[in-house]
Symmetry: C2
């Protein structure tokens, strides 16, 4: 009471434990107990307190709780902005009304709108919920990203970060405060727990299908960005499958994981020659490859096989449907949260590196034999 000389109920502030305690004629400790360990309080008292809680519209401050309890009950998830989300700078359109659009099929499906992270996020949310944690998201864009991550790090019990979202330096820094797990990057020995997908095995299976079963010798790889750990692993799988079939290497063009870039690169390539198969680093670039092949008047799969990687939904609806490697995206998110929680529960245990399996989805663009 000393700290709160005037808790007269007339003051219009958001009510605190003190207000509830006063009104119910109990101590703040009892109010706290009613909320956290109801069985430790006599029924009558409990009822009284609860009714005051209702009357006052009391909602306990999560921050005060976290501070006093030394745990927030929140897990953070950071990933690198929603790619291609131009809406980022669109002014928000808020007029009502209806616009009529003739939307009959007039071209290839639009590029996948970043389903990838949507699904990771969903998986993470589900798992966090089950483990009794709330989830805080930061899909950083721009330089302020580092600031935000730092900020988030201060409000959660643990953090899951998608590879390449922020500098390793920052990661190391925040890891001194809370457990950090890195998603979609198999790199070891950086002191973090890791959760990733079997990129290498996936690509290996895919290329084995193309080279081994279909017997194609003339392959071109539409590569991802040089600094992508994902692509690095996929190339490892590629090389290994090639080697297994007596091929030393194949030519590459730079697709950069992007539809437009891949489109341009493949168009350029096709001006000089037509390989039998275009193995693309991801689905987006496969869409670009498909565009370029079509423009050239070539048929898929008859003239050229085309394959992707990721298993975006949109890959099922291309013309023809795209053979690709499906990643368990939602499970990635779940596994990440799981790894964070596990680490929280067993701080001392050795670092883990979770590997999730993938699916080789054989479709018309490069069909089964």
């Amino acid at each position: 009471m000393a700290r709160h000389p005037d808790r007269s109920e007339t003051t219009a502030r958001t009510p605190t434990v003190y207000d509830v305690a006063d009104r119910a004629g109990v101590s703040i400790a009892t109010v706290s107990r009613v909320l956290r360990t109801p069985d430790a309080v006599r029924e009558a008292t409990r009822e009284r307190v609860l009714s005051v809680v209702r009357d006052l519209g009391y909602v306990p401050s999560g921050n005060a709780r976290a501070l006093a309890g030394r745990r927030t009950g929140v897990i953070g998830l950071c990933f690198p902005g929603h790619d291609g989300l131009e809406g980022d700078r669109d002014p928000l359109r808020v007029e009502g009304g209806v616009r009529v659009v003739d939307d009959r099929r007039n071209g290839a499906p639009a590029g996948g709108s970043n389903l990838y992270f949507d699904e990771v996020l969903r998986g993470a949310e589900v798992e966090a919920w089950r483990r009794g944690f709330a989830l805080m998201v930061a899909a950083g864009r721009g330089p302020s990203r580092e600031v935000i991550v730092n900020d988030i790090a201060g409000r959660v019990d643990g953090l899951a970060v998608v590879a390449r979202t922020v500098s390793n330096e920052l990661l190391t820094h925040v890891a001194r405060r809370i457990p950090v797990v890195v998603l979609a990057d198999a790199t070891q020995a950086d002191g973090f727990d890791h959760v990733s997908v079997d990129n290498s095995a996936g690509m290996q299976a895919l290329v084995t299908h193309v080279v081994g079963e279909l017997g194609v010798r003339d392959v071109v790889y539409v590569a991802g960005p040089p600094d992508s750990p994902d692509d690095a692993e996929r190339q490892l799988g590629l090389m290994s499958a090639l080697a297994a079939h007596g091929l030393a290497d194949v030519p590459r063009v730079a697709g950069e994981f992007r539809r437009d870039t891949a489109h341009a690169a493949v168009a350029e390539l096709l001006r000089s020659r037509t390989p039998r198969a275009l193995v693309c680093a991801n689905d987006q670039s496969a869409l670009g490859a498909l565009d370029a092949v079509r423009e050239r008047g070539l048929r898929v799969p008859d003239d050229v096989y085309v394959t992707g990687f990721d298993g975006l939904d949109v890959a099922r609806f291309t013309e023809p449907p795209l053979t690709t490697v499906g990643q368990p995206m939602a499970e990635l998110g779940r596994a990440a949260v799981q790894a964070v929680v596990d680490r929280l529960e067993a701080p001392g245990k050795p670092l883990t590196a979770t590997r999730l399996g993938v699916e080789l989805l054989l479709r018309e663009s490069c069909p089964p034999v």
Copy 2:
């Protein structure tokens, strides 16, 4: 210092302002200033403090900040669990490896995997970020939902809640502490800010197309759940368009917004007769209607027109592509966050009811004239 007699740097705890202050030979106030208002501190001092921050791996506690600063910098978003996410109870599969699947088109596209909320979430995230807030998500499933919402309410500055996620009672309760905006429910006069899409106008435009332009008189409405405010509004639009064309009403069957339910209901209907058009309350039920029509050996649009509502991605890839009303889902999320932030900045202003426009997407299942 009185409160922290032993701040000797040898103790291995997560460092606090006190540790930084000690090491840098300044007061905690100065440390705080360096972080919040750098210009208020002499350059030399600032550098010194910053370097200690780095050395110690200091990350400020967001909770303590929020508590002292009386604002969290976080906005909450709650929606009703990820529908149909069975993965909810799946054990997480964590073995690596590759599974090969012949995934050539073998049926209709799978039902939309809840893109709806994924996009709302994404929109909210983007807007929160731009406004300098972090986002906390709760996609509640089960009864503990109410508990969690309450919990979240205690850790955020404002809350956006999708209609029918939690009881109005709880909403009213937490609204006494922080601003609450309700999504996708046009109901007024409940004391909350609202953000929704123009359901009524959308359906009206759609039905005007069917009845007015295509001249169909024999329509059946595949309705949503009786307690859905969304469907209620859509029916309003339906009635109004019918009236405008001299039709009193049309028969209804219960689709419940679900593919399976709608499938069953329409199959039942078709056993007795075949209406010229099936106007469905949402895309999911339109998928079900399509299934039933196909099974009956009828052709769309030649024998029956079918329409949906929502504009899910999957509706573009059905056979034939589905005429539907597209909702700006990401913008819904953005507008919600915007409403929360606006309310935070101007607590006194009158309640708002934001209405987002929709698009009538005319596709092959009920094409333009």
